[in-house]
Symmetry: C2
Subunit: 285 residues, 2 copies
């Protein structure tokens, strides 16, 4: 049996009892590490918090391993219980469907243990989840690559009065162009887009396109470290949020659409007061 | 401190370690019971599974209580730690923002413990969550009230190639019209819309409107008891799903938009074969 287990957003305490029970009975435990090293404060040679909790070693499965070595994971799952751990929900922002499809083809049973992901946890800002349009991704611009496909989608959502969740780029273990040209893989340091960079890029595209999808007075909600003890949530205009230091990653951004009164009241809980968010050190508000 | 704690979708094992730790230190524990009695197999006088797990009594807070007696909950939270338990994620399909807004007004700190909700757990069918448009709600039709506001939204989503999550009506503790007219509140038995009823209503509205938003050959995914051990997920056309017995509630439905190849492969995992879904008794596939 292949268990695909969501770990939630914060740290090792965000696994569910169901998930923990499954991990404890598995013979092998793999952990997806595309975004997880960060949010769980781990390094490749130090998964100790989780290993202590689970009482067994974890095999760190980076992006390449999941793609290239899925056969190993699946052949273990054919004869024993194997856990594959994923930050957030297994089918949240990133996809692990390939592993499931291959398991199915090989006749290996699977079970999914769900958890919170950014896709539903943004509900904490008070904007109703059923009033969101299509989600967009904001990629890091380079000198020569400044794509704007998110612009149409945001424009359409706003015309319909819908909120837009913007997922911000994460670059982890990307082979550098320089190393690829030399035939040896060397990796760039990880990069996580900040809310500030995302807003700069959004405003650059509005400037270029000029179709008034949004502007610097458009209201947004910035989220940093959502679901962690030290999460930070701030409501303000794009211009206001540009001046906020949201601290460590991960960040994401919601562009506010048409609101109902109760949504407004909740947004007020997170609004900037005198230029700085009224949030306490322990993440409570 | 007011802790608002998501319980997830299945049963008592779907609480997170963080959530359980918070409940255990709270002096009072309230539980929202709008949809929860059902999914957690509880009755108003028998919250024993949860009470045993938590080691303390739970005050059952039905819809009226949350609305009318929020003051009691909040005044307890002013001087001690109070937990308010919610099925799914606290800010999933239903709203608990009012309680948070009032806590904030009274200067009471709050913390949210996230969990899975239907809004992200539907990701298990393989349709990417960022390719969903606005969510719609399908209300129970009556003889005189057959609203179709969902039709425009589905049509728009499908024109854009987006998937549509349809939340199906739940009627719990609704005062009956008869009892209201007599001045005494008596409640209707709870009603939960099935996928079959939802599809019948959807097709009736397509028949009436005739704008080809969808038809009986439109592909859908039906979900019953999502996140539970005995969940059932079936892909098929509206016509095919009409003939499927999905069993006990809760049900929800996704109308499939334009798909990518990997989404197709994953949908195939759940497709009808020879008229019945290939799902085992324990909910695994």
């Amino acid at each position: 049996m292949l268990y695909i287990i969501g770990l939630g957003l914060g740290d090792e305490k965000d696994i569910t009892l169901r998930g923990l029970e499954a991990v404890k009975k598995c013979e092998k435990v793999y952990m997806e590490a595309y975004t997880s090293l960060l949010s769980f404060g781990l390094s490749t040679d130090g998964l100790s918090t989780l290993e202590n909790l689970y009482g067994k070693p974890i095999t760190f499965a980076d992006r390449e391993m999941v793609e290239e070595k899925a056969d190993d994971i699946l052949s273990s799952a054919r004869t024993s219980d194997v856990a594959f751990l994923v930050v957030g929900d297994p089918f949240g922002a990133t996809t692990h469907t390939d592993l499931v499809v291959r398991a199915k083809e090989l006749g290996i049973d699977f079970k999914v243990v769900h958890n919170a992901s950014v896709m539903n946890a943004v509900g904490i800002c008070g904007l109703q989840l059923y009033r969101y349009g299509e989600t967009v991704s904001i990629p890091f611009f380079t000198d020569t690559w400044r794509p704007d496909s998110f612009y149409e989608k945001i424009k359409r959502n706003r015309e319909l009065g819908l909120h837009t969740l913007c997922l911000l780029d994460i670059r982890v273990k990307e082979p550098s162009w320089e190393s690829l040209s030399r035939g040896r893989k060397k990796y760039e340091p990880p990069r996580y887009m900040t809310i500030n960079t995302a807003i700069e890029q959004l405003l650059e595209i509005e400037e270029r396109r000029g179709e008034s999808a949004y502007n610097e007075d458009t209201r947004c909600v910035g989220f940093a470290r959502l679901g962690s003890e030290d999460q930070m949530i701030v409501t303000g205009t794009m211009k206001q949020l540009l001046a906020v230091d949201f601290g460590a990653p991960l960040h994401c951004l919601v562009i506010v659409g048409k609101t109902h009164p109760l949504e407004e009241e909740m947004l007020d809980v997170y609004k900037l007061e005198g230029g700085s968010p009224h949030q306490k050190d322990d993440g409570s508000v």
